[in-house]
């Protein structure tokens, strides 16, 4: 069930009606029912795998909770029994850790098996090919459940938070199932933390007109991004990138910039639909996009782009890895044998590289995503190393860093670097990405842009006008959000005619300029495939 389909809107409408009719304490059951309908529409096997992940993590968390309780009870043991207390603490801690690993092993195992088995087998086959070995693994036919990467990460976060004692394990299996499978977020996130989302799901929210209105506008805005911009640009980008041997020069620059726009429109559009849907039920999700193309450096970009994934990696990979015994040992050895400077670089770089290789793999079982992840990891390491040096140079050369022009330069630089990475992301393989880089610069390829030829690459002149106009409107909205915060609040303060006019224009722009209808299959959201 695609988020941009009519059937999805029908599901939201029916769920909305039923949700506010039933008593507050039973409203979570309505959401659970909607989740089941949504997920069953994807397939029964998918539902079975989702249930496997939910069941495994639920009981693991419950067991961890029991050990947490026992550890807490140890505090009541008198100080005279210190030795017994210590022994019991060690025993319970060990058991708790063991259960955590079993739980993590199960949920990560399901993810790895269904999503990465063929990737591993394919990689082995490539190695066999290089070695001229006749051995080959045959690929397996796997069902990859909808949003498995997202809900698995949510499950991992839950288990680790229960382990750390940050949250108490959920007692009700169905309530836990609701949290993991909440239908607006299960496919593409945002990756919601239990402490942030669970109570909103279970409490049975009161009807507020503002929630319905703002939620509906957000959904509409998401539809506009997807159907007017992303779908339209995909025709142009597909034409160039899927036939990259036929093009050269500037057209790749335009296609890559437009891909950066498309993926932003696509993913943030999906998030708007998810946020809007949740808001209708009085639920606020964590923001996933904070106008990332206004970022002045790569670390900032990754705090603004897919923010919930970034914070997930920070909390559940970066920090645990940085303080792990293995990491500390490597750091000590590096400092000892390679010197303080190099050792410090290694201690900074290692967790970053681990995080970014995993981020790359998370996006998909392909080496191009690993290359994309490493590219970003290296950029962030370089940024960490050189930023202090550039700051010193800047001061020495009296460069004003607080003025608009310098910030604009920083934004352009970040966008440029981001676009370089996008080539790996969009190209069909790492090899293709390098060919594209080569063809991009071997000639200007201006002839491909002249004599109206440019308007034959998937979208014509009038379609480009729609694209540029939409971009202009989106840019103005983004600037307003940067200055004033929530643009919906700003709209609320305007006169009724203006407010309604804006919403009508948005609604009918989607109906008229949206890419949908017979003979046109709206593509899946890009991040839905991850």
């Amino acid at each position: 069930m695609a988020y941009t389909s009519l059937i999805y809107l029908v599901l939201v409408f029916v769920t909305f009606c039923v949700y506010y009719i039933v008593p507050e304490r039973r409203r979570w059951v309505v959401l659970l029912g909607a989740n089941l309908v949504f997920y069953i529409s994807a397939g029964w096997v998918e539902l079975l795998l989702l249930t496997g992940t939910v069941t495994g993590s639920f009981f693991a968390a419950k067991a961890i909770g029991i050990y947490n309780d026992r550890l807490a009870e140890l505090k009541k043991i008198p100080i005279s029994e210190k030795e017994i207390k210590k022994q019991k603490k060690e025993y319970y801690s060990k058991k708790k850790k063991y259960v955590l690993w079993v739980g993590l092993g199960l949920v990560i195992g399901i993810l790895v098996v269904v999503k990465y088995t063929n990737f591993v087998l394919g990689s082995f086959n490539s190695v066999f090919g290089v070695m001229n070995s006749g051995h080959r693994f045959s690929m397996l036919s796997m069902v990859v459940p909808l949003g498995i990467s997202f809900y698995t990460f949510q499950t991992i976060a839950y288990l680790m938070d229960v382990y750390k004692g940050k949250i108490l394990p959920q007692k009700s299996f169905l309530r836990y199932f609701l949290y993991i499978s909440f239908f607006p977020t299960v496919v593409q996130g945002p990756i919601s933390r239990y402490e942030q989302l669970s109570q909103q799901l279970y409490s049975g929210n009161k009807f507020k007109f503002e929630n319905l209105r703002d939620g509906a506008i957000l959904i509409l805005w998401g539809f506009a991004k997807k159907l007017i911009l992303s779908e339209r640009l995909s025709l142009f980008i597909g034409t160039v990138y899927d036939n990259y041997m036929e093009y050269e020069g500037l057209i790749f620059v335009v296609a890559t910039i437009m891909f950066s726009v498309q993926i932003y429109a696509d993913f943030s559009g999906a998030m708007d639909i998810a946020n809007g849907t949740a808001q209708i039920f009085g639920i606020r999700l964590s923001p996933n996009f904070l106008r990332p193309y206004f970022s002045k450096n790569m670390p900032e970009f990754w705090r603004r782009w897919h923010a919930t994934l970034g914070s997930w990696f920070r909390d559940y990979v970066f920090f645990p890895f940085s303080i792990s015994k293995t990491s500390l040992k490597i750091n000590r050895l590096a400092r000892k044998y390679l010197g303080e400077g190099v050792g410090r670089i290694i201690s900074v770089s290692m967790p970053v590289l681990v995080v970014w290789i995993l981020t790359g793999i998370w996006h998909g079982p392909e080496w191009k995503y690993v290359a994309w992840g490493m590219f970003h990891g290296i950029l962030i390491i370089l940024s960490t190393i050189f930023t202090p040096k550039f700051e010193v140079l800047g001061k020495k050369w009296n460069i004003k860093t607080e003025c608009f022009s310098f910030k604009l330069y920083q934004m352009a630089r970040t966008f440029f670097l981001c676009c370089v990475g996008r080539v790996f992301f969009r190209a069909e393989s790492i090899g293709a990405a390098f060919v594209i880089f080569k063809r991009m610069f071997q000639t200007t390829g201006l002839y491909l842009m002249y004599s109206g030829r440019f308007f034959n690459y998937g979208i014509d002149a009038k379609e480009w006008c729609v694209v540029l106009l939409f971009l202009l409107v989106w840019f103005v909205i983004s600037v307003l959000e940067e200055i004033h915060g929530d643009v919906l609040k700003l709209l609320e303060r305007q006169n009724l005619i203006f407010r309604w006019g804006i919403i009508y224009i948005l609604l009918f722009s989607v109906i008229i300029f949206g890419q949908y209808g017979p003979g046109y299959d709206v593509a899946d959201f890009i991040y839905e495939q991850f």
Partner: protein, 344 residues
Amino acid sequence: MKKEYKNFIGSFLFLSGAVIIFVCISYMMRPVDNRNDGMMMGFYGEKNHSLDVIALGSSSVYRFLNNPVLWEEYGITSYNLATGSMQSDVYEMLINESLKTQSPDIILIETRPYIQINQNKKKEDIYFRKASDYMKYSWDRIHYINEYTDDKEKRFQLYFDIVFYHGLWKEFGLGNIYRVDNEYVDRMKGWRSVFESVPMNVPKDYSYVSEQSIEAEKEKELERLIEYCERRGVEILFVATPWEMNEERVAQNRYLERIITEKGYRFLNCNDHIDEIGLNYATDFYDEKHVNVFGAEKVTRFIGQYITENYDMDLTHDKSTISEWDKVLDRYAQEEQESKAEKE
């Protein structure tokens, strides 16, 4: 006023506005090929209760029944509610729709769709769409769409034709804005003339041919239509306009004639009256299925004569209707002159 009531009224007004704008935009986005589509829009543009005859059918109507000539010769106001390759499954829907604004003395039904079977055409929605997509939104329209198909997705696309046509925004022009109410004035009342002339073979003598039944599904459609017209108290005249005949077509026309007359209705098979009409196969056709403007004048006179002789019609019209139809006649005369000048 309580905030809840205020919000409720506000929402109601907002949604009402959205519905109105949606309907207007849907109408404006509908494509009109003035050659043979969108005649329903032109029909809506007719003054209410001003038509004596409404003719339903495909190009077998709009190339044959010359409405200006029918007015000039017999004082009959008529409209060709016809689209290219129209199928008989839309007849009831169109009659129902036309009776909302008109009270014609006769509804003329061209019978070619009952014998011209084309399996591909039956499967393609385009022939249904040519009628339904130009109708104003109404419960009746939804009812007939539901009868047409059980496919829910298809129904949705037929209810909201903008799903189909929104991609035509690139061709949007001033002409579209004028169709905001799904109406325009059809300058020729649904008549479309062709001045070109292509010689045709004189048909063989098929007087020996006996009856051959039409397709069972088509016969059911015909029976249902007659029942519907009886229910609505509508006078109907079935007409078969002249075209290239073969044994099968002649035999099926014979069958049609019998079952229609048995039900107490008239069936005028022009193919049996070629000499009376005065059709000349060397000059009066432009292809094997259609007459040109010269042939159409002859066919129209023949049909007009038949109607006035067999039906008791009140042909008095108010001044504005007379004035409007005289203008149509002037336009037709001008069209004829221009065509002649073009040829010379």
